[in-house]
């Protein structure tokens, strides 16, 4: 039974036209899929998943880049939370997190003004946004100069009546230096957040604002009841991104203080442990801990979006859209299948 089936196939294959077979949908489809996804997948595996796997593996060893490896179990993870520098760096990211919430608030404020016709608005928007395009290293230098004793900030404050003796050392004073450094990232990223918010505000139906004005809503009411609901998704998204962003602060503290004086952020400390101290195992464990935090944030984001911010109608519409797409795809498949059969 099986045998005859096979022999039938062979006879049909004898007549088959290679060019035609090659041009048939199914073969071409496979060819396209394989050739188009080979390189991206290879790179993805080599530079993301292989390192990821190795990272988890290394985190259980005490090792350097070269030389013997020693299995230490969970000791590296214990160290992440017990070593003074690592755990302090984790706590430090709260500074940056707080700063990023301030930053989002300021961004939202300016966005709500600049989304409407303002004279000189384009210039102000550009001025506020441009810091985002400056490299982290340059930002570091700019603010190293800015905060240096007796230089920019000090002379600015002296100009408005402060005395140099009243002013703190912005970088050396350990009670405020992390605030100073976190402020640099507010300066750098506020404009970017603002541009995103402006984009979101512009995409809210303009007639809603007009309607609110006609109904006699004041500016604050318009902001709270018309604008904010329209852009809440992007606000939440930015809040969650700012959590991961605050864990990855690197360049400004690296340039300004090299992570000294209690300003070592997570990545600065990790960089030191990985390359200066060559404790690859510990650095890997730090990376894994960071990853876990980020995954938790991502899950929180999903939960937020799914349960709090999508109402039933939207969900229904989304599902319908998906179904339609599936059907379309199935249709394409079918017609291709038909072509193949006709061709053979």
């Amino acid at each position: 039974m099986n045998y005859t089936g096979n022999s039938n196939d062979i006879t049909s294959k004898e007549q088959f036209n290679f060019v035609r077979w090659f041009k048939s949908g199914k073969v071409q489809k496979r060819l396209v899929i394989c050739s188009f996804s080979f390189l991206p997948l290879l790179l993805l595996i080599v530079f993301t998943y292989l390192p990821f796997y190795k990272m988890i593996e290394f985190s259980f060893y005490n090792m350097k880049y070269t030389g013997p490896q020693e299995w230490v179990g969970l000791q590296n993870y214990v160290d992440v939370f017990q070593r003074d520098d690592c755990f302090k760096a984790l706590k430090l990211s709260f500074y940056y997190m707080a700063a990023s919430f301030v930053q989002l608030g300021i961004a939202l404020f300016f966005a709500s003004i600049l989304s409407f016709k303002t004279k000189g608005g384009a210039f102000i928007k550009g001025a506020m946004f441009f810091p985002y395009l400056i490299s982290g290293i340059a930002v570091g230098f700019i603010f190293k100069f800015f905060y240096a004793r007796g230089f920019v900030l000090d002379s600015l404050l002296q100009a408005v009546g402060f005395h140099l003796d009243q002013l703190p050392y912005w970088i050396q004073d350990t009670s405020i230096n992390n605030g100073s450094l976190a402020a640099t990232s507010v300066w750098r990223y506020m404009g970017q957040n603002m541009v995103l918010f402006i984009g979101a505000i512009m995409s809210v139906d303009q007639t809603l604002y007009e309607a609110a004005d006609i109904d006699g809503a004041n500016k604050l009411q318009r902001f709270l009841y018309v604008m904010l609901p329209g852009i809440k998704n992007i606000v939440i998204l930015n809040m969650i991104l700012s959590i991961t962003g605050s864990l990855s602060a690197f360049e400004p503290p690296y340039v300004i203080t090299k992570g000294n004086m209690g300003t070592g952020t997570y990545f600065v400390i990790m960089n030191r442990i990985a390359y200066e101290n060559q404790k690859v195992g510990l650095a890997s464990a730090m990376a894994v801990v960071l990853l876990v935090i980020i995954i938790l944030c991502a899950i929180a984001q999903k939960v937020f979006f799914n349960y709090l911010f999508t109402d039933a109608d939207e969900k229904e519409a989304l599902r319908a859209k998906k179904n339609r797409k599936k059907m379309l795809k199935a249709k394409v498949e079918n017609t291709q299948g038909g072509q193949v059969r006709d061709g053979n």
Binding site: V46, F47, A127, M128, L156, V195, Q336
Partner: protein, 280 residues
């Protein structure tokens, strides 16, 4: 009525005060750098940073900064990396997005999830082990190696292309295929030209990212003639640690190309950024 009018005027003035203050805070750190970069050594030491330079045509600091930090090499390398990585990212990103969006096959969802998860991994974190892999591939201290890492860890552009494909109707492909076009033809002749806006977005985001990238170039390009613009600038932490008139000049040199591009492509940059962020 009168009161209301007065209120709007006061509010308007207040609004402008706040806006101008915001713009002032955004500009002042850079503006002071501009002042300082034009000052002679003696002038820099004797005047407050807030005073204007005596001579706006004193370019000596720029010349010194440009030479000392080897910026010509930095610009050349950054430019090379930019071109190659952009081409790679765009070709690979559009291809994989085409496959993932247009074909139903086993593993499609898996590949999507692999890319999704990869986007969560913060770049710097995995470098500890990427470094080891690069080392075993003999790619440390080579420009192609750095390009490969930069192109290989790029997930954002794939997302932007995927999102854009969602909005290109499948009927386009169908009719082309009915007309006898092959899948390759559909991709290269029909879809790729339509992807132009997405390609612009990716180009903008990548340019910003690559031009400002420091961590990986510092890690993988350590020899002197392989420095990129960020690592070249970083050399100022060393011997010129407190000669801020040189440092500011160096900073301004690296900022200038970004400023020019920003002034020309302002609109595209804003919209590119907004498009890039919505990927979620």
């Amino acid at each position: 009525m009168e009161i209301k009018k007065l209120q709007t005027i006061v509010l308007g003035i207040l609004k402008y005060c706040v806006l101008v203050f915001g713009a002032f805070v955004a500009i002042i750190p850079v503006l002071v750098c501009v002042f300082t970069a034009f000052k002679t050594d003696e002038e820099y030491q004797s005047t407050s940073p807030m005073t204007l330079p005596r001579n706006w045509t004193y370019f000596n600091n720029f010349v010194i900064a440009f030479k000392k930090a080897n910026m010509l090499v930095g610009f050349r390398n950054t430019f090379l990396v930019l071109i190659v990585v952009l081409i790679f990212s765009i070709i690979m990103g559009t291809m994989i997005a085409y496959v993932l969006n247009r074909f139903v096959f086993r593993g499609n969802a898996l590949i999507r999830n692999l890319f999704l998860f990869a986007a969560l991994l913060p770049g710097i974190a995995t470098q500890v082990t990427v470094y080891k892999i690069m080392y075993s591939l003999n790619l440390i201290n080579t420009l192609p190696g750095y390009m490969l890492v930069m192109a290989g860890t790029d997930v954002i552009s794939i997302y932007i292309f995927l999102q854009f494909f969602e909005n290109l109707p499948v009927s386009l492909d169908e009719s082309a295929i009915l007309d006898g076009c092959t899948y390759f033809g559909v991709f290269f002749r029909i879809l790729l030209p339509l992807l132009k806006p997405a390609i612009v977005t990716v180009t903008i985001l990548k340019c910003v990212g690559i031009y400002n990238e420091y961590y990986m170039s510092n890690l993988y390009l350590q020899s002197k003639d392989l420095k990129t613009i960020s690592t070249a600038l970083f050399t100022f932490t060393g011997p010129y640690g407190s000669q801020y008139n040189y440092i500011c000049a160096g900073v301004l040199i690296t900022i200038l190309p970004a400023l020019i591009i920003f002034l020309i492509f302002q609109k595209q940059i804003y919209s590119g950024l907004t498009d890039g962020a919505v990927k979620g």
